[in-house]
Amino acid sequence: MTDSKLSTFDRKDGSLVIAHVLFAFGALLIGGIAGMLQGMVKGGTITLPAGIGYYELLTAHGVLMALIFTTYFIIGFLYSGVSKTLGGSLLPIARKLGWWGYLLMSAGTLIGVVVILLGKASVLYTFYAPMKASPWFYIALALVVIGSWLSGYGIFYQYRKWRKTNNGKLSPLFAFMSVITMLLWQIATIGVALEVVVQLIPWSFGWVETVNVVLSRTLFWFFGHPLVYFWLLPAYICWYVVIPKIIGGKIFSDALARLSFVLFLLFSIPVGFHHQLMEPGISHFWKYLQVVLTFMVVIPSLMTAFSLFATFEQSGRAKGAKGLFGWVKFLPWKDVRFFAPFMGMLIFIPAGAGGLINASNQMNAVVHNTLWVTGHFHLTVATSVALTFFGITYWLIPAVAGRVLTPRLNKLGIVQTIIWVVGMFIMSGGMHIVGLLGSPRRTAYNTYDDHPDAILWMPYHVAMAVGGIILFVGVLLLIYNVVALLKAPKGETEYPLGEVSEHAEPTPKYLENWKLWLTVTVVLILVAYTIPFIDLIGNTTPGSPGYVTW
């Protein structure tokens, strides 16, 4: 990897990466405005001017942040690493697929945003039937998904060609992880694609009268849980591959990193029922089986935590750190490329613990659909993942656009990270506590006729609004930083890719045996879902007609 060090990033590929990253931050800005306004309405501090509904904002916030910001950033980031590590530039077909994917996703996003703002689709980003949005909302979603498939094919194509020309060689770690991430996405989106194309589009056009509600929810959550790992795995790529280089250390173990990604592929899909624990129509046995499978992701998560801190300690000791925790001082705290992702890692500890509570079968009743859950994913995706993506941006834009990160921008990046952590601590902390007290999620301002329980929630809702305003300042500073990065002084910036520690064991071949891992993935999915699906499809319950309740 030393030979490619400081070599120029392919400019054509750079444009593709920049296009994705900028679209992502555009979505973050609009989604951020919606989020802050929502927080203020919920806190009772403002009422929206006529015409704008709370749930329209909530739909826009969810779709733009959870689906658009993440997907665009992830595809841009993965393409950058695939270009860098698999031959130094994208093959023409891979690049073309990347642009076609971008085009389709952008068309879908624009249609979707217009339909949402027209108030034709205030169904939130989970769009549970039988609430019936305009068919164009579902078509927009389908376009985004199909676009992301094309982008995935581009990555697979580049990877296969590389493997063919480098017969028998172990693929670069970044590329391997990108392929896993995109495989996970391809398999997971089959569920939501079936829901949207087979169930919802014909139904919302009126070609069929009714929809099977529990089936549609099950298809959605077949997708909905791996979705969160689709967000998380690119952050893990940064933690495993990029961070060791930035701190001047080595990757602890290539084999361990690959194994953890394989385990994520296996255990993040057959687990969707843990989002449906509180609903009728699915029996205890299948819920419990999927709870067990859910808890298997604890293993790769702890493997990741262990190997990251091993990297930190090893690199500190190599620099002369003494004592049990002396290495902590040797970490580059003043480098935003490390500091932002590191804060993300730190916050993933309580965030992951909260996730275990959510998935604990009967314990879910305490927190299901309360603001606790909202607090949970604002720690996971909106802090751990988002801060890692922000940290990536400070070297990715300079590396692909031929710029350098100035000390001033580095400092602003650190300030931005601190603002984000403080805002999220207040907002998500408030959400967790008030959720335990019973305050429901996705609910506009109301005091429930001044019921004493609901009155007790108010101070926490105000704290959420305060946190939301601080976070919006964080969004504005981030947008400023992104623009400033594009205008930063010209120069070459290294694309940071770590090297594996010389003490690590060699990587066994079977870790790159796709036939094996895909077979196990499919078998696990079949075990977890076949009988429940047969039951749902075969049931004789009359379906539901559609309702527009907003």
């Binding site: 509904g53 749930y55 909530l58 205030s122 549970y128 039937a129 039988p130 609430m131 509600v213 529990v214 929810r217 449906q276 624990l277 509180m278 609903e279 009728p280 129509g281 699915i282 029996s283 205890h284 819920k287 419990y288 709870v291 067990v292 808890f295 604890v298 293993i299 604990s360 079968n361 009967q362 879910n364 009743a365 305490v366 299901h368 659909n369 309360t370 007290l437 019973g438 305050s439 429901p440 999620r441 996705r442 609910t443 506009a444 109301n446 429930y448 006729d449 019921h451 329980d453 609901a454 049931n539 004789t540 319950t541 009359p542 379906g543 539901s544 007609p545 309702y547 309740t549 907003w550």
Partner: protein
């Protein structure tokens, strides 16, 4: 440790009956809720010594029965709830009562109300423009 934890969850679920609600599959035509017993007459019925059944319908944006439900302290209520339109929630803050109400299915959940007071029942699944107004109460005397 992971195995022990999962075992505990499993034993509680299948052995002691401390499970997530809604095990049984009870199907109903969601367009004919108002004609299907017991939901044609949603009401609180006394079925035994300090034991009640509450047949309830969730709709956008409220719950039937509309009349105030009242029970003595220490009473156990078996709720049976269905929806006549979209998906709703059924949550009683301060208790572990928290179930989804899905059209076409009947949700079952039981709770013993030990302490007197006015308990809030609210919808915790977004169901439309006035979702935040969807609530009722049950009074424990």
């Amino acid at each position: 440790m992971l195995a022990v934890f999962l075992l505990v969850l499993g034993i509680m679920t299948f052995g002691t009956g401390f499970a997530p609600p809604n095990e049984h599959i009870h199907r109903i035509d969601p367009t004919k809720v108002s004609e299907t017993p017991p939901f044609d007459k949603p009401q609180l019925t006394k079925i035994g010594e300090n034991e009640y059944k509450a047949a309830m319908v969730a709709y956008a944006f409220g719950y039937d029965p509309a009349e105030q439900m009242e029970i003595p302290a220490g009473a156990t209520v078996h709720f049976e709830i269905t929806s006549s339109d979209v998906v709703h929630g059924f949550q009683i803050p301060g208790t572990n009562v928290n179930v989804m109400v899905t059209p076409g299915e009947i949700s079952h959940v039981s709770h013993t109300f030990e302490k007197p007071g006015e308990y809030l029942i609210l919808c915790n699944e977004y169901c439309g423009i006035a979702h935040e107004m969807m609530k009722t109460t049950i009074v424990v005397k």
